[in-house]
Symmetry: C2
Subunit: 552 residues, 2 copies
C-alpha cells in the first residue's frame, strides 16, 4: 500500500483555494500510485484560523467544501482530509478539529483530535471540543484489510516513555496501538522553532519503534502570520528508522510505499541554526506579504545590521524589483552609514530613495519650543526623529501600496531599545524573534552562502541608533552576548531573576535587564506581528499583564 503525503501551503480562510490545492495534489499522488492520501491538519481551512472558527458561515462553508472535494475526488485516491466539524452535541466548544475520511465520493468517517494544545502560541481549547473518548475505536480506520490509527498533531506528542513529564492523561497513540494497527498516520500543522525537526524525528521514531508500526507524518508548510510551518513531512519504519522526508519550507507530494519502505526519498536537511533561520525568515516574509495581498515591500535602511538583514530577506522573499529601500539621514547619521546603505542596495540591485529629515526635525523643535522651554534634552528628541521616519515610511507605504517591514531585532524589542510609532512602525516584523547575536550570525551566513551583499563594515562596526552624537548601543545596554544570554533564560525559558543570577550572570545587570523588559511591555503590546523562530517569541506566545507589578 502506497501512502501519499500532501505537504501543502494553505491560505488561512481560503477554503475554495485550499480545496483546489488539495484536489490537485491528491491527483498527483494518484499518478504516482498512492492508494490513500493524507493532508496536514486542517488543510482545508489553513491553520490556525483562530476566531474565524466562531462564525457559522465559515464552519458551514468548510463543511460544504469538504463534501464537494470528496465528490470531486470520487475517482481519485481515498483521502484523509484535515478539516473541522461543527460540534452538534449541545455541550462544549463550537467545533472539532478532525480528519475526514473521504472515499467513494463521500465523507465516510470522522476522526476527532483528542489532545488540544493550549500553551505558547496555541489556543486550541478556546475553539475545539476534544474527541469524546466514548468509543475505543474512535481513531481507527479499516481500509483494504489494514487497520490504521489516525491521529492529529498533538495526539502523538504525549508518550509516557519519551517525555519526562506529560501534559495530558490520555494518549491517543497508545489507544490506537491497542488495536494492533498496520499503520499510524498523523496529520499535523506544527510550526517551526529552531531545532524542532530533530525533536520531531527523534520522538516519532521512538514511538514507531515502541509500537513496532510504520508511522507517517504529514506537516503543513508555509507562513501564516507569526507562524512558519516547515513541512519536512516524514515516515518511519517499525524499527524507528527514518524512511522518507519531504523537503522543508516548500510544497511537496511524497509517496511512501509500505511494502517497500526503503524506496522513498529522504530530502537532505542540515538542520543548522543559520540555515533554518534564513529559510524561516524568507518563507515567513514572503507568505505574510503575499497572503496579505501585497507584492512589494519597503525597508528603512539605517546603515546598521538589522535593516541590512531585513532588506536581504525581503529581496530573497519578494524579488529585488519589489523592494524599495529608504534612507532618512539626520544630522546624527554618519556618512559611513549612508555609504554602507547605498552599497548594500547596489549589491542587491534594489532602488533607494533618500529623504533627509532635518527640515522636519527643525519644525518639530519649533512647535515644541514653548512647552519644552527650560527642560533637558532626553530620549524624547530621539523618539521624535524615529517617529518622523515612521511617518515618512508609512506615507510611502500608503501611497505606493508596498508593505513597510520593521527592522527591530528581539534583543531591542525585549529591552525597549526602540521607538513605538517610530522604527516599530510597519506591517510585519521580520527579525523580531532573532536576537542581536543571531542577527550577526545570519548576516555572516548570508554573505558566505547566498551572496556577499552585506558590506563588511555593516557587520563589524559597533551598533548605534545614531539618534544623538556618537551614540552607541553599548552606552545604554550590557554587551550583547551578556544581554542575549540573560534574555534567553528569562524569555525563552521563563527563568526568574534568582535562577538567572545562579546561572552565572551579575546581579546588577540581571536586575537592570529584567526591569527594562518589564518597562517595554507596553511597546510590545502594540508591536507588529513577527516571525516565530524560538520556543518563545513575543506576540501570541507571550501574554503579559501591563498595568502590574512584576517581581519575577
Amino acid at each position: 500500500m502506497k501512502i501519499g503525503i500532501l505537504q501543502l501551503n494553505p491560505v488561512v480562510g481560503d477554503i475554495k483555494g485550499n480545496a483546489e490545492k488539495i484536489r490537485k495534489a491528491a491527483l498527483k499522488a494518484q499518478t504516482r500510485g498512492a492508494d490513500l492520501c493524507l493532508t496536514p491538519e486542517m488543510a482545508l481551512t489553513g491553520y490556525p484560523p483562530r476566531d474565524l472558527l466562531f462564525y457559522d458561515g465559515f464552519v458551514n462553508t468548510t463543511r460544504a467544501m469538504a463534501e464537494k472535494l470528496a465528490l470531486d475526488l470520487k475517482d481519485g485516491p481515498p483521502l484523509l482530509l484535515g478539516s473541522i466539524e461543527k460540534n452538534r452535541s449541545g455541550q462544549g466548544k463550537p467545533v472539532f478539529n478532525c480528519a475526514l475520511w473521504c472515499e467513494g465520493g463521500e465523507i465516510r468517517q470522522i476522526f476527532r483530535k483528542t489532545l488540544l494544545p493550549t500553551y505558547d502560541v496555541f489556543d486550541e481549547a478556546r475553539y475545539f471540543e476534544p474527541a469524546p473518548g466514548d468509543n475505543p475505536k474512535e481513531n481507527i480506520l479499516e481500509f483494504q484489510g489494514r487497520t490504521i490509527g489516525v491521529t492529529i498533531c498533538e495526539d502523538a506528542w504525549n508518550d509516557k516513555d519519551f517525555w519526562d513529564t506529560r501534559s495530558y492523561s490520555r494518549d491517543p497513540l497508545d489507544e490506537a496501538a491497542a488495536h494492533n494497527p498496520d499503520l499510524i498516520l498523523n496529520l499535523s500543522a506544527s510550526p517551526i522553532f529552531l531545532g524542532k525537526q530533530k525533536l520531531r524525528e527523534d520522538m516519532l521514531g521512538a514511538v514507531a519503534k515502541k509500537y513496532s508500526v510504520p508511522l507517517i507524518y504529514a506537516n503543513q508548510t508555509g507562513g501564516n502570520d507569526d507562524l512558519v510551518f516547515d513541512g519536512r513531512s516524514c515516515g518511519f519504519a517499525p524499527d524507528g528508522s527514518l524512511v522518507g522526508r519531504a523537503p522543508g519550507f516548500t510544497e511537496e507530494v511524497l509517496v511512501i510505499d509500505l511494502d517497500d519502505l526503503q524506496g522513498s526519498p529522504i530530502a537532505e536537511d542540515d538542520f543548522s541554526k543559520a540555515s533554518e533561520t534564513w529559510q524561516t525568515l524568507v518563507l515567513g516574509t514572503r507568505d505574510y506579504v503575499r497572503k496579505s495581498s501585497f507584492s512589494k515591500a519597503l525597508v528603512g535602511l539605517s546603515g546598521g545590521i538589522d535593516s541590512a538583514v531585513t532588506a536581504v530577506v525581503a529581496v530573497e522573499a519578494l524579488g529585488a524589483e519589489n523592494v524599495l529601500c529608504v534612507l532618512m539621514p539626520s544630522p546624527y547619521s554618519s556618512q559611513g552609514s549612508i555609504d554602507d546603505s547605498l552599497k548594500l542596495a547596489d549589491n542587491l540591485g534594489i532602488k533607494t530613495l533618500t529623504l533627509p529629515i532635518q527640515p522636519i526635525m527643525d519644525q518639530f523643535d519649533k512647535a515644541l519650543a514653548e512647552p519644552f522651554k527650560g527642560l533637558e534634552i532626553d530620549t524624547t528628541e530621539e523618539n521624535i526623529q524615529s517617529r518622523i521616519r515612521g511617518n515618512l515610511l508609512m506615507a510611502l507605504s500608503n501611497k505606493s501600496g508596498a508593505m513597510l517591514l520593521t527592522t527591530g531585532n528581539k534583543s531591542e524589542l525585549a529591552v525597549g531599545y526602540c521607538t513605538i510609532y517610530g522604527d516599530m512602525s510597519g506591517g510585519f516584523a521580520v527579525i523580531s524573534d532573532v536576537d542581536k547575536t543571531g542577527v550577526f550570525d545570519v548576516a555572516r551566513w548570508y554573505n558566505e552562502n547566498i551572496k556577499p551583499a552585506i558590506p563588511e563594515n555593516i557587520i563589524t562596526k559597533p551598533p548605534s541608533a545614531e539618534l544623538r552624537p556618537d551614540q552607541k548601543d553599548q552606552d545604554s545596554l550590557p554587551p550583547y552576548d551578556i544581554l542575549d544570554g540573560i534574555l534567553g533564560l528569562h524569555i525563552e525559558q521563563h527563568k526568574s531573576m534568582q535562577q538567572i543570577i545562579e546561572a552565572g550572570f551579575e546581579e546588577k545587570i540581571v536586575e537592570k535587564v529584567l526591569k527594562l523588559v518589564r518597562f517595554a511591555e507596553f511597546k510590545r503590546r502594540q508591536a507588529a506581528p513577527g516571525i516565530k523562530l524560538t520556543p518563545r517569541s513575543f506576540g501570541t506566545g507571550w501574554r503579559m499583564p501591563l498595568a502590574c507589578k512584576r517581581e519575577l
Copy 2:
C-alpha cells in the same frame, strides 16, 4: 454564622501589597463580627496575572506570602484566600487556581477550581490544571459544624437547568450540593460587560433556590488592563432572593449573617447602560494609569465628541489638575472645533496647549514632493497629519511623564476609520469598546448627571475627522445607527454576512462594512489596550488571523 466578603481591588503581581490589603480587610470584617472571610478569586496575585504564572519565582513568592498571611491572621477570622498553587503532580499545567483555607495560623485545606474558562478574554486552560475530581468531597469545607461548598467563579456557571447549552460536563455546584451543604461560597474575578450583574444575580439566585441553600459570592473590583471588575459581591437566601449586595466599582467589606439573612445592606444599583458605562470607563482609566505608575494623562482634543468624552472620563478618573489637553489645529480644522475644545477645557478646569501643525505638514510635503510627483492626493496626506499629531502628543508624553490616552471609539476601530501611529497612538484606549452611538449616549448622560461640561455643539454637529476640506464621517461610512447595528451583530454576536442581511440590513452595506472590518485587522493588532464593556471587545477577546482570506 457571619460571613465577611472582602471585595478588594488588587494590583496584578503586587503580592505583598495585595496581602496587606487582604489582612486589613479581614481584620475589619472581624471587628464587624465575621466568623469566616472570603476574598475574590486569586486576590493574592490579582486577576489575571497571565504569563507571570509561568515563572517559578512568582509562584513561590505567592505561596510564601499566603503562608505569611495565614500566620499574620492567626488571631483574625479564618479566611478562604483566593490564590494559586504549584501543580506538583508531574502532569498537566503548572498551577492550580485555588482557594486556601487559612485557619489557626496555617493553610489547612486547598480547594481547586474545576471549570476553567477558555473563551473570549479568558485563557485559563493555558495556565491551570483543573481539580482532579478524584475525591467526592474535594470542594467541601467543614467548619464550626457546618458543611460549606467552596466554588471558584466559573465553577458556579454550568447549571443544566439555567443554561440552554452547557460548556462543561462537570458541575461543581451540583457536586457540592450532593453533600447537603449549609452554605455555598463562590470566590470570583468576574469582569463586567454591560448587563452582566443582572445575569449574575438571576443565575446565582436560581441555583441558590434550586439547592435551597444560602449562596455567597465575592467578586473582585478594579481595573486590570482591559478588564474592569465591578465588584457587586452579593448573597442569596435559600429561596433565591437577594439578601445583600456590596456597591459596584469600589472596595468594600460586606458582612452577611446566615442567622439573620435579611439584616444585610443591599447597595442601590440602577443597572442602566449609561451609568454602568460611565463607572466602568472611569475606574478602568484610573486603575490603568495608576497601576502603570503614572498619575497624569494627555488627551488630544479635536473638537469632536470622542475626544470630549475621553477628556471628561480622564478628569473624573485622575482629577482636573492631572489632565492636559492638546489642540493641534491644521488648515482643515474649523474655528468651531477649536472654540468647542477650548470651551470644554474651560468647563472642566483643565489646562490646554495649542500646537498648530501646518509648518510641519509643509515640511512633509516638501520631503515627499519628489516621490509623490504626479500622484493624486489621497488618504496618505490625511494620515500624515494624524501622525504628526501622534508624534507631538508622544513627545509631550515622553517629556512630561503623562500617559497619552487615545480617543478612538469602537465603530471607527472596527472599520479602520483611524490612523495607525496617528490618532491610534497612546498607552490606553479609553472608549475603544464604546460604539459611536454609545459615545453620544455617554456624552448626554454625563452632561445631565455629572456636569454640563460638554458644549452642546460637540454633541449636535455632524462627526468629522477634519483631515480635508468639508470632510464628514458620513461621506465614507454608512449612518452610524446602521453601521453600529451591523457591527454589533458581526463582532459581538459573531454573525455571518448572510445572517446580518437576514436581520434586515442592506446587502451592499453589509458587504462593505464587513470588508472594512477585515481590512482594518492589521491596525487593531497594533492598537493600545482599551476597556472591555461589551460581550466582545477588540483586544484579548478578539483573535483574528491577519494574512488570510475571510469570507464570513
